[in-house]
């Protein structure tokens, strides 16, 4: 059994006395497609923030490939192979599409020469060509030079994923990548992410769209009020009584599970 790529071990996080994450532990296997789900406010984005270094855990450890990373500065985590997207899109509004994507290359382009070589206006470089290539591959046929602030929501969402991908991460954290997308777009997204996964990138996805979760991810972790209440295959997550209770409340959960028992 190979070691997990990412491990959270008894991670807890408080904000001013309020416990947001409580003793959460789970593993993300190498090459997995894992979902992190739960009702709103369960702490999913906080987990992402802990993994990417925006916050430090108060208790517990975060291990990447066996190595404890929770004390490593957030700036250095991309270099370790962790890339992410954000729940409410956080692209640089005044930069163009291709420039936003090129920012994703930052961790790979850290040398002094890289920093001082022109990448726009005076000359195009390999970095720009790589960014434009990936944009084309993703089917983003807007002008690369278009300033991002003016583009529609769906396109900006995709650009953010491209920005995360161009960092050539080992693990990709996606925070609600399908939010605001219609059915066709969601299917496209799923196909694309399957391809990404096939290329060896591990996926950890926060999502509310259960059909996407079921078709894309084989494993799921469910959080509720900062605690883990389920850690297992996606196929059986909706039958778990604790999960039902979390989403529907005790009375309805009982109804649904008795329904499920009758139907099964």
């Amino acid at each position: 059994m190979t070691a997990p790529l990412l491990s959270l071990v008894d991670v807890s996080k408080n904000f001013g006395g309020l416990s947001v994450i409580s003793e959460v532990s789970f593993d993300v296997a190498q090459g997995a497609r894992m979902a992190l789900i739960g009702p709103n406010g369960a702490g999913k984005t906080t987990i992402f923030n802990l993994i990417s270094g925006v916050y430090q855990p108060d208790l517990g450890q975060i291990r990447l490939e066996g190595r404890e990373i929770s004390r490593i500065a957030s700036r250095k985590r991309v270099g370790l192979g962790i890339a992410r997207s954000f729940q409410n899109i956080r692209l640089m509004p005044h930069l163009s599409v291709v420039e936003n994507v090129m920012l994703g290359q930052q961790a790979r382009a850290g040398s002094l020469l890289d920093m001082l070589t022109p990448i726009s206006f005076f000359g195009h470089s390999k970095w720009r060509r790589e960014a434009e290539g990936l944009l084309d591959e993703m089917g983003l046929d807007t002008f690369p030079g278009e300033v991002v602030a003016t583009l529609p929501y769906g396109i900006r969402k995709k650009i953010e994923v491209v920005r995360a991908l161009i960092a050539k991460p080992t693990i990709l954290l996606l925070d609600e990548p399908a939010a605001g997308l219609n059915n066709t777009e969601t299917d496209n997204l799923r196909d694309f992410l399957m391809k990404v996964s096939a290329n060896g990138v591990t996926l950890l996805v926060v999502e509310h769209d259960m059909s996407l979760v079921r078709s894309l991810c084989d494993h799921a972790v469910v959080l509720n009020f900062g605690r883990k209440i389920y850690d297992g295959p996606t196929a059986t997550v909706q039958n778990d009584p604790q999960v039902l209770e979390a989403y529907l409340g005790t009375r309805h959960a009982a109804e649904v599970s008795s329904e499920a028992v009758r139907v099964a």
Binding site: V54, A109, P144
Partner: protein, 306 residues
């Protein structure tokens, strides 16, 4: 070329260099309201070395820029730990402390100022302004420039993407300081005299405003801002006398109407500032505007190949 025009070119060149000095930190997200302080450092360093050691202008200018840049670098670390309002105030306080120190020093002539023996004609500031402008365009076109703009737009995400936010901020602040010092040194040599009163709060406010109004998203902004506001007093000189008389009559103002011509420049700047902040706070020249002006230049790869 007549003395009148060489004078204007000199002032314009110095203002352009000064504009880029403030542009760099602002483009990175730090409002620097202490530009006059760095200018004073460069001006007095150049004046001092020239008057007391007879060093050639090339050396004094370099020394002035270096000193201002070094001070900018040193002070950047503590100052940039402050944010927002505090940062603006700290840069402002810094400039006032510098001018206060100079005012009180005998070595630098105190309130009397210093004469500068070596004179530089307009070609030098113009050439240097060209160099600085090209450098600014170059810097903004590099990945470092990208890092600067990312830091301006969203520090948190820039950091998460691997940008050393503090490093970028300090570098922009220090290089800006050096440019301001260069502008000061040129001022010393082109006007043959420095006095600390000319490096005052109004100068800092003035340059910050015309950089903001020109637009801080691209390196075209400070150029446009500097040109417009340097030429403004000249235009006013033509138009002013009639306007002044009619306005005074309109407002029924009595008392001394022997007003300094300067005031109009500031009133117009002030009105434009207020208007721009309401209508177009990004400044005149924006990224979107530039992209529209350059169609097809950045066509996507797919559209380029048949």
């Amino acid at each position: 070329m007549s003395g009148y025009w060489t004078g204007i070119l000199t002032v314009l060149a110095i203002n352009i260099i000064f504009a880029y000095a403030i542009f760099l930190p602002v483009a990175t997200g730090q409002l620097n309201l202490g530009g006059a302080g760095f200018q004073a450092l460069g001006a007095y360093a150049a004046a001092f070395l020239s008057a007391n050691y007879g060093l050639p202008a090339a050396v004094t200018l370099g020394a002035g820029a270096l000193l201002a840049g070094a001070v900018g670098f040193l002070i950047a670390f503590p100052i940039l730990r402050t944010r927002g309002v505090y940062l603006v105030l700290a840069t402002f306080a810094f400039a006032e402390v510098i001018s206060g120190l100079i005012l009180n020093s005998e070595t630098f002539g105190g309130p009397m100022g210093m004469a500068v023996p070596v004179f530089l004609d307009y070609q030098v500031p113009v050439a240097l302004a060209l160099v600085v402008t090209v450098f600014a365009f170059y810097l903004m076109s590099t990945r470092f420039g990208l890092m600067m703009r990312a830091t301006h737009d969203d520090e948190v995400v820039a950091d998460l993407l691997g940008v050393s936010v503090r490093g970028v901020q300090v570098a922009a602040f220090a290089i800006g300081g050096a440019f301001a010092g260069l502008a000061g040194g040129l001022y010393a040599h082109c006007f043959s005299f420095v006095e600390v009163q000319s490096f005052n709060a109004l100068v800092s406010i003035y340059v910050l405003l015309y950089v903001l109004l020109g637009g801080t998203q691209t390196p075209w902004g400070p150029l446009v801002g500097a040109i417009f506001f340097t030429l403004l007093p000249e235009v006013l000189r033509e138009v002013l006398p009639t306007v002044k008389l009619s306005l005074a009559w309109l407002l029924g103002l009595k008392g001394q109407v022997a007003a300094p011509g300067e005031s109009w420049r500031f009133i117009i700047l002030g009105v434009l500032t207020i208007t721009m902040m309401v209508l177009r706070p990004e400044g005149l020249i924006t990224r979107t505007m530039l992209e529209r002006v350059r169609p097809g230049r950045h066509a996507s790869a797919r559209e380029r190949s048949p």
